[in-house]
């Protein structure tokens, strides 16, 4: 069954998938990697983003990407609010790790149920002219439904990378991860910086959600399938390393795609988690750890 065409296509499909995974995982990488906030509710915010895109798409006929972009400020505000609660209840008292985890578990449930009560349990899809179409370059076929998310994921990675490395606030966020005391001595308020960063992390979920619903149907409890994946990617990439996260997302995408093309899709997910387990056992800091 092996052929060069198939291999080429599998790799391309994997890269496309990886680009999308990156978009979903960047928020985790920032929150978990840079801020040490174990936000396991991130995937549910992604689903929330999907529903925002769905609502805009069905009522106004808006393109999902545009809807995702429009909603980023709302998600930013949401992130700020969640972080405020988190900070005041846990971080300030130095009890973040375990209890914070459970707090986010609770948030996950609450958002999921609110979506359930609002939209019911049906799978939802969006409409866009390019969904279901594809281009063919030689032997390689590329589906727009996957190409667009990949490109947006790349754009998001680049934007976040530039923001973190080139702007004052971005550098401050990096600094907060290293040494918040030093930052305070320099006259910046670490809490403000962390709030900003967390808001940003949640804001990426708005776009990622739009991408998710573009690829396939979405229903509220789907977020759970992503918890493992996004953490796997964030850890694999080396926490807080934006470029590393992107590369890890691509690796996972390609591994999944290759497995499902050549070995049998049944094992795709298990193989990618196997890669994670192996990485954790051999090099816990991830492939590109700090």
């Amino acid at each position: 069954m092996f052929s060069v065409d198939l291999l080429l296509n599998a790799i391309i499909a994997g890269i496309l998938l990886g680009g999308f995974y990156a978009a979903v995982s960047l928020g985790i990488s920032v929150a978990f990697g840079l801020l040490d906030v174990v936000n396991i509710a991130h995937p549910v915010f992604v689903i929330l983003g999907s529903y925002a895109a769905y609502a805009m798409n069905t009522s106004l006929g808006l393109d999902p990407i545009v809807a995702g972009l429009l909603f980023t400020p709302v998600f930013f505000a949401l992130g700020v609010a969640v972080y405020r609660i988190y900070y005041n209840s846990f971080e300030k008292k130095g009890e973040e790790s375990l209890r914070g985890l459970v707090f986010f578990f609770g948030i996950l449930f609450i958002v999921e149920v609110v979506l359930l009560l609002q939209y019911g349990v049906d799978y939802r899809l969006v409409e866009a002219a390019y969904i279901g179409e594809s281009v063919h370059i030689g032997p390689v076929g590329i589906a727009f439904r996957l190409l667009v998310p990949c490109l947006v994921g790349m754009g998001l990675t680049l934007a976040l990378y530039l923001f973190l490395s080139k702007t004052f606030y971005g550098r401050a966020i990096q600094a907060v991860a290293q040494d918040s005391l030093a930052l305070r001595l320099m006259g910046a308020n670490p809490i403000r910086i962390k709030t900003l960063a967390f808001g940003l992390a949640i804001a990426t979920a708005s776009l990622a959600g739009a991408l998710l619903i573009m690829i396939g149907p979405v229903e509220p409890s789907m977020n759970r399938e992503y918890i493992g994946r996004v953490f796997a990617i964030a850890v694999l990439g080396g926490l807080g390393n934006i470029g590393g996260t992107f590369v890890a997302a691509l690796i996972l995408g390609v591994v999944e795609s290759l497995t499902s093309t050549f070995y049998g899709p049944s094992w795709a997910l298990a193989v990618s988690f196997g890669v994670l387990l192996l990485t954790l056992a051999v090099r816990p800091a991830g492939l590109f750890g700090r």
């Binding site: 198939l6 599998a10 229903e219």
Partner: protein
């Protein structure tokens, strides 16, 4: 300040006394007529109102409630009102034993019927068997194979040998084409139903002397189906049989389009393509697909009562935010309690044994047609339809309410149109 207040109090107390009298009178009224209406007949069930199967569970419950309303409007069963007692099983099999013992031991319902789906019927089986109860099943695949319980009756028309009969039509249609297709690709999700359907399909492949060139499953959480579609395409099969759940059905249809997977016959066991949400979103991409179904608005399947039911259902569905068409599960959810109701009426009894015996030996006229159960509690003969999507244009929902879009190809008795073959020819 005090006096007007007091005054008002007195006036209020008068009104209060009046209301109380009315209430007492109301309370008496049923007691007077208790001779005829007595206690309602209570039917208990667990249903997936949250979790993975809720998208079907909710409409199913709604349909049963429509049945109860219909029955009660006509004076109930045996002169008694019908009441449904239901709990949410959350699509978790572990909740089912608790729910059914609660229904039977605490609520003391007169009858229990199953929730939706194989996984949620199974845990209730030992409980109803221990007590020798009638148990109407709603869309369970081969639940009774191991138990051979004589009180179990399952409404999904999968036939006496569910897993195999499921794809009978699909492969029979394939075998009739000239030149006869020879190679088959089988693909499906890693879950209970798809695995069963694939096992049945493998049998059919053997029976019709075909050759399997691809046989694989994928995890339900798969995001991208294009690698799978491509791997199938590389084996160049004549027939692609897919056994999938809603999200992956959509994924497979889209992926097949994108990679240009065009076998001669495509579809078979894809769950989800019967729902409005997916039909309207996929639109013309469905054209040519041959898939199983149980009821479609074709002239050959206009059973008495079905249209009236769908009218009621569709009016309610909008409000509840569930599938607006209601062609897939709802008629059957109505029918399975309809059978129970008819049996109670006919035997004039709530005795489990008598009702059980009646259901085993009789044919029932329901909104899904004549229903007769075989010895293992499945339909005596299979009525799994194979339909083909034809001439779907645009994405409006109205077209799917009319005949001609989902043409029945199989079984011959219900056939309403001809197959467009090969698959590619039906595509725009």
């Amino acid at each position: 300040m005090m006096r007007p207040g007091k005054c008002r109090t007195r006036r209020w107390s008068w009104i209060g006394a009046l209301i109380a009298m009315v209430l007492v009178a109301e309370a008496w009224a049923p007691a007077i007529s208790a001779a005829q209406t007595a206690q309602p007949i209570r039917i208990g069930l667990g249903m997936a109102l949250t979790g993975g199967l809720a998208a079907n569970g909710k409409p199913a419950l709604m349909s049963m409630q429509i049945w109860a309303e219909d029955v009660n409007k006509k004076g109930g069963l045996l002169g008694r009102k019908v009441e449904l007692v239901y709990y949410d099983d959350q699509t978790k099999p572990a909740t089912v034993p608790g729910i059914y013992t609660k229904l039977l031991d605490v609520d003391k319902v007169d009858f229990v019927v199953s929730g939706y789906g194989t996984n949620l019927i199974a845990p209730a089986m030992p409980i109803v068997m221990e007590r020798g109860l009638v148990f109407m099943g709603l869309f369970g695949l081969a639940n009774n194979e191991k138990f051979k319980y004589h009180g179990y009756f399952q409404i999904m028309p999968a036939g006496p040998n569910p897993a195999v009969d499921w794809s009978q039509g699909f492969f029979e249609i394939a075998a009739k084409q000239t030149p006869k297709p020879t190679t088959v690709a089988l693909v499906g999700a890693d879950a209970e139903y798809p695995h069963n359907a694939l096992a049945g399909a493998r049998e059919q492949v053997k029976r019709f002397g075909l050759k399997i060139v691809y046989d694989s499953t994928y995890p339900p959480a798969t995001v991208d189906y294009t690698p799978i579609a491509r791997a199938i395409k590389a084996t160049n099969p004549d027939i692609v049989f897919v056994a999938s759940y809603p999200p992956d059905s959509v994924g497979m249809v889209l992926a097949a389009h994108e990679v240009g997977l065009t076998p001669k016959l495509f579809g078979g066991g894809m769950v989800g393509l019967q729902f409005a949400a997916f039909m309207t979103k996929l639109g013309p991409k469905l054209n040519g697909l041959v898939n199983y179904d149980f009821w479609v608005p074709e002239p050959t399947l206009k059973f008495p009562g079905i249209e009236e039911f769908l009218r009621k259902y569709q009016a309610k569905a909008k409000e509840a935010g569930v599938d607006p068409l209601g062609h897939y599960l709802p008629p059957w959810a109505y029918a399975y309690v309809q059978v129970l109701g008819q049996a109670i009426e006919a035997t004039k009894s709530l005795d489990q044994k008598k009702v059980m015996e009646h259901i085993r030996t009789n044919t029932f006229d329901t909104i899904v047609g004549k229903v007769q159960f075989g010895p293992n509690g499945e339909w005596a003969t299979s009525r799994v339809l194979q339909i083909q999507f034809q001439n779907v244009t645009g994405t409006d929902i109205e077209q799917f309410m009319k005949p001609g879009k989902r043409v029945v190809l199989y079984p011959a008795q219900w056939k309403s149109g001809a197959l467009i073959y090969p698959y590619a020819k039906a595509k725009p």
